[in-house]
Amino acid sequence: MKTGSAKGTGIYVCLALAAFLWVLPVWWTLINADKSSSDFFSHPFYDIPREFDLLSNIATAWSAAGLGTGFVNSLIYGVTGAAASIIIASLAAYAISVLRVRGGFIIFLVIFSGTVFPLQMYIVPLFKMYNSLGLYDSRLGLILFYTAISVPFCTLVLRGFYTTVPGELREAALVEGATEVRVLRSVYAPLSVSACLVLFLFQFTWIWNDLLFGIVLTSSSSVRPVMASLTSLMGVYGGSSLPVQLAGALIAASPMLVLFFGFRRFFTEGLSLVARRG
């Protein structure tokens, strides 16, 4: 900053310009989600809306193409999938890094590398398996899938985390007669709350944003997750007007925005988890 204020100002101008370019699409989305369709069709998109129709567009989008149902579904999938996978992963991580089961590293590799393949490797067999097990197009089926896809990363992170917990804590509890499950629940789990919260946010976000498995494993709008519903909102058949589509996009993005602004610190922490994964 000592190198001269002219240079500093120049950098700020460039940054402001870039930030402006980055915000523009969001701004255009916001103003066009506000427009009535007649306003949208009779005036250019960059004009300020003449009437405030955001709420009615949101209401239309919510009921069209099952977007509202998808929203609720995805909340269910995100919460249960993330929570269940954290529980399952903490059991596995505890056995691998604290109990040091024999062959633990191999078991860990099997769990961890189950999902390093491209997602396209899983779609056809899962579709067939779900059909033959009666899980196709069911909420349970999607919850099971989302749990499974989240387990490897949670195991990786929790395994690393548990090794940082001092072993004496566990031994003291064991001496007092606690079972291993009890130790995990009342010693390790409370210590890993913040790591689990980061994992929860990350897995919830992944599940919320998933489109591929939503369209592969379901067909009816009562089961579909939110992103699949959003795509059908803009589909050729039953496609809605652009303001309604954009209002739908806002609906679908809203929980992510709430999470992002509410838990920004956790997102940055989570990112460093992802980075350390490499």
Binding site: T3, I11, Y12, L15, A19, W22, V23, W28, F41, P44, F45, Y46, I88, L91, A92, A95, L99, V101, I107, V110, T115, V116, P118, L119, Q120, M121, Y122, I123, V124, P125, M129, A148, V151, P152, T155, E168, R170, E171, V175, W208, L211, L212, M227, L230, T231, M234, L242, Q245, L246, A249, A252, A253, M256, L257, F260, T268, L271, V274, A275, R277
Partner: protein, 314 residues
């Protein structure tokens, strides 16, 4: 602390400790077997869904499975058909373009933004603005950019600005512009997350090293070339590896914006697999495409995986 905990934490000591408290050998081995129960749920999920699928996809790729009639073993016929499929070249080309562009554009811009914004006043504002598109997700990004690149989007703006020729452009309907347009949309979305990852890298770089260098007169490009860039190289490799793997699998944005069209011109391997499997129900063929995609992804990430395995092991 570590000197104190390390000897006690090893498994052997733990068991001898519990034995001295009075557990007989039978309890010990029962406990040992019981510990395997902890890993069973995770293994059931991962092996039952993912390892099963990986094996099955390879098998299905050797059959003429179509989801209706019972599948017959056809050997390498699907792979042979792929070699003669005119769509193969388009898909290889687009997949490569995506991979290359996603390394250069979001990663390069993310690095530039990170270095420019880092330790500058207003960092949190710029961070929020650049990260915002990532927070809203791929599908939402697809909806927004489909609108902007459609007839009632940018063409209207260019018309108003008097740029007639630009106003005529069909961004999502002409080749190869459709792929490039989607890459721009994808760059808009993912630049922010790369920037944040570089922030993590920059935060771990020893501040004193940088300050010492700047006292020695290293500024601007020289500072970057000889100090920041080498110190960031580990993070850069991770980001590039993640970007390649993600780009090779690019699906969501393309599916929302063009569905690989028109006439498959903007399709990638990931879109192609889905389309063959679930729109034309040629699941054997779709599986074969997925296998080829996997080979690409594994080749691209082999060095990265090897290093991360080594890190995990320690």
């Amino acid at each position: 602390m570590s000197a104190l905990t390390t000897p006690v934490r090893s498994a052997g000591t733990v068991f001898s400790l519990s034995a001295s408290v009075g557990n007989g050998p039978s309890i010990r081995s029962r406990r040992r077997l019981g510990t395997y129960l902890f890993v069973v749920p995770a293994l059931v999920f991962v092996v039952g869904m993912f390892w099963y699928s990986i094996v099955m996809t390879v098998w299905i790729s050797l059959t003429n499975s179509n989801g209706l009639t019972s599948a017959k073993f056809v050997g390498l016929a699907n792979y042979n058909a792929m070699l003669h499929d005119p769509e193969l070249l388009t898909n290889i080309y687009n997949t490569l373009i995506w991979a290359i562009a996603m390394i250069i554009l979001p990663v390069g811009l993310g690095l530039l933004a990170a270095i420019t914004v880092h330790r500058r006043r207003g960092r949190s504002i710029f961070q929020t603005v650049f990260y915002l598109p990532y927070a809203i997700g791929f599908v939402t990004t697809g909806v927004i950019w489909s609108f902007l690149l459609g007839t009632s989007g940018f063409p209207e703006l260019f018309q108003a600005l008097g740029l007639r020729s630009l106003a005529q452009v069909q961004w999502l309907n002409s080749v190869p512009l459709n792929t490039y347009s989607m890459i721009v949309a994808s760059t808009w979305q993912t630049m922010g997350v790369d920037m944040l990852l570089f922030f993590v890298g920059l935060d771990t770089v020893d501040r004193q090293v940088i300050e010492a260098a700047s006292l020695d007169g290293a500024v601007g490009w020289r500072m970057f070339r000889h100090m920041t860039w080498p110190l960031l190289s580990a993070m850069t490799r991770v980001i590039i590896a993640i970007s390649i793997v993600n780009a090779l699998q690019a699906f969501n944005l393309i599916w929302v914006m063009t569905q690989g069209g028109p006439y498959g011109s903007s399709s990638t391997f990931a879109v192609w697999t889905y389309q063959q499997s679930f729109q034309y129900y040629k699941m054997g063929y779709g599986a074969a495409i997925a296998v080829v995609l996997t080979v690409f992804v594994l080749l691209a990430s082999v060095g990265y995986l090897r290093r991360s395995l080594r890190e995990v092991r320690t």
